[in-house]
């Protein structure tokens, strides 16, 4: 049976845990999405934009030098960094902006952590002529100032969020408050497979284009399915996007890489699936980093895009069923993965994706040369120059 079910559940996870004022809006969204996704014209519009505007399909690149250097399995890199705006986020932003347009909503709000989703949303809105307001935590504004400038250039208004930990979690709280206040006129373009139903399903459906392409590409080039797929997981949209079309292929092992920050034992990390417990935040039930009283815990990651205490409910389901496994990579390991790809392949990855790369590199070393590992290179690293320089003790 396809998931989620009618209540928006993936097993015990997902659902709709929102204030009453939003319930009618979620029902409206569900109906609009059901109607749109049943129309071939909607999908052809989406695919045309993905192709002509976002530059899809993105290549599946065989990282020979890296693979050779590691001396084990072959690493194939799904180049989402080459998509327009530099990350996979554009797929979802285009899909939802088209839906918002079809629903007659002209005011779009979004949240952003690293700024990649904010840029993608601002881009899609500029192209479709929609008003765009992006909520971003003050701490993230500081560490991702380049993306803030990009959003402004694209005509979006960036609203700083000073509450709580001043990161992605609080940006979502503030976007939700805006939505609660302006629900009749506003579309909330959520950036990951989180939030209340139907968001986790909808965002997955738009991001699944990554996995569909990767599947065709690996079959065409290698004549077989990969042995492993590795992707980083914050909210989890790039991971679900590449995992989803392989879910039925039991032989393909799916590995999600969470941000272990300064180490799981320090408590300063963002590894919800590895170190959290089921709870309810931002409209759905999933794994959550929380204290024993159910208060959401502060998180840490060197990458703003992974710095989030929750995770998409479908990942929670995949974890519990054992279909996917989840591992942690620390800040310093991610930096290692970052430098490894820069030097071996001349590709500068986003710090988020560098978590997946580090893990894939470790895995490749232990596996046979004949085996294939696909890594989702979810974004490019230009936005992270300042953070990486700081971490390496270099003054720019």
């Amino acid at each position: 049976m396809p998931l989620p079910d009618k209540k928006g559940r993936f097993g015990d996870y997902g659902g709709k845990f929102v204030p009453e004022v939003l319930m009618p809006a979620l029902q409206e969204l569900e109906t609009a999405y059901a109607r749109a996704s049943a129309e071939p014209a909607f999908w052809s519009r989406f695919h045309a934009l993905c192709k002509d505007y976002a530059g899809r399909p993105t290549p599946l690149y065989h990282a020979h030098h890296l693979s050779q250097q590691l001396g084990g399995a072959q690493i194939l890199v799904k180049r989402e960094d080459l998509a327009h705006t530099g990350a996979h986020k554009i797929n979802n932003a285009l899909g939802q902006a088209l839906l918002a347009y079809a629903m007659g909503k002209r005011r779009i709000i979004a949240e952003t952590g690293a700024g990649q989703h904010g840029v993608a949303a601002a881009t899609a809105c500029a192209m479709l002529g929609l008003e765009c307001i992006v909520y971003m935590g003050e701490e993230d504004i500081q560490r991702q100032s380049l993306n803030v400038f990009r959003m402004k250039l694209l005509g979006a208004e960036v609203r700083p969020v000073a509450s709580g930990s001043r990161t992605l979690k609080d940006a979502i709280n503030e976007a939700m408050r805006d939505w609660v206040s302006n629900v009749q006129t506003t579309y909330y373009l959520i950036g990951s497979v989180v939030g209340p139903h139907p968001y986790p399903m909808m965002v997955r459906d738009f991001q699944a284009i990554i996995g569909k392409e990767a599947r065709e590409q690996v079959m065409a080039a290698w004549g077989r399915l990969p042995d492993y797929i590795v992707a980083c997981v914050g909210g989890g949209s790039n991971a679900i996007g590449i995992f989803y079309p392989f879910l039925q292929d039991e032989a393909v092992k799916l590995i999600g890489v969470e941000a272990a920050g300064r180490g799981l034992e320090t408590g300063e990390h963002s590894a919800s699936l590895m170190a959290g417990a089921p709870g309810v935040l931002h409209g759905s039930r999933s794994y959550l980093l929380q204290d024993e009283a159910g208060q959401v815990r502060p998180t840490h990651s060197i990458s703003a895009g992974l710095d989030y205490p929750g995770v998409g409910p479908e990942h929670a389901y995949l974890k519990d069923t054992g279909r996917a496994t989840y591992v942690g990579v620390t800040d310093s390991q991610a930096l290692e993965g970052f430098q490894l790809l820069c030097r071996a392949e001349g590709i500068i990855p986003a710090l988020e994706s560098a978590h997946a790369l580090y893990y894939a590199a470790q895995l490749a070393r232990e596996r046979f040369k004949e085996e294939l590992i696909i890594v989702n290179l979810s974004g490019r690293g230009d936005k992270d120059m300042q953070v990486v320089a700081n971490a390496l003790g270099i003054t720019l």
Partner: protein
Amino acid sequence: MSRISSAFKKGRPAFIGYLTLGYPTLEMSLEAAAVLAESGCDILELGIPFSDPLADGTTIQRASQAALEGGITPRRCLEAAALLRGRANIPLLFMSYYNPILALGQKAFCAACREAGVNGFLMVDLPPEEGENLEAEAKNNGLDMVYLLAPTSTRERVRLVAQHSRGFIYLVSLTGVTGPREALPPELEQFVARVRPETSLPLCVGFGIAGPEQAKRVARVADGVVVGSRLVQLLEEPQPLEKLKSFALGLRKALDSIRG
């Protein structure tokens, strides 16, 4: 008839006062609650703070954060409610978000509410579609689980909430977060009129109500008025308890002036 529903008397609009437990301190919030109970408040709504109160405006966000920094937990809120039960002879209603209750355990929470003398609760982010388990536990413990309606609620949803809510129905006056407003929406009366035929439960209106004039407008059509953020703000002023008392008495007087 539950203790909460018996707080509504014909021709006498109820005054429901909200406070965030643990703000500015636990002792102070208890003192404040006791003052409200002696000053014409009919039901005390006690907020159990949550780290991510996404339906709340700046006042209650700030209060929740400060209370959490002061070490408040759901368990301490339950202890506080038990203390208050000894001092205030009016119904006590918890208000919270779902996660702290889930973390404590729904069964344990409801049993602890009953033992503490709490009469019911409302969960801001738990619509009836997801509330089945908590509703069952509430019922087992003789507690009223109050659901909310908003101006955006469709007729179908009004009926759903009317079917599931116990004690009263909480009507959110506006599409927005908590916090006092200059003016309430013009559609407020229509909203109440739209819900009225669908239920025999008392209808209480909250969100945005800042003072006696707005309370009077609400009380002309509804059975109760909820004042929250405004009370929390009074606790931030000098001589907070005196101010709270005179505000509550003023509100009571305003409500009584329109009786009949």
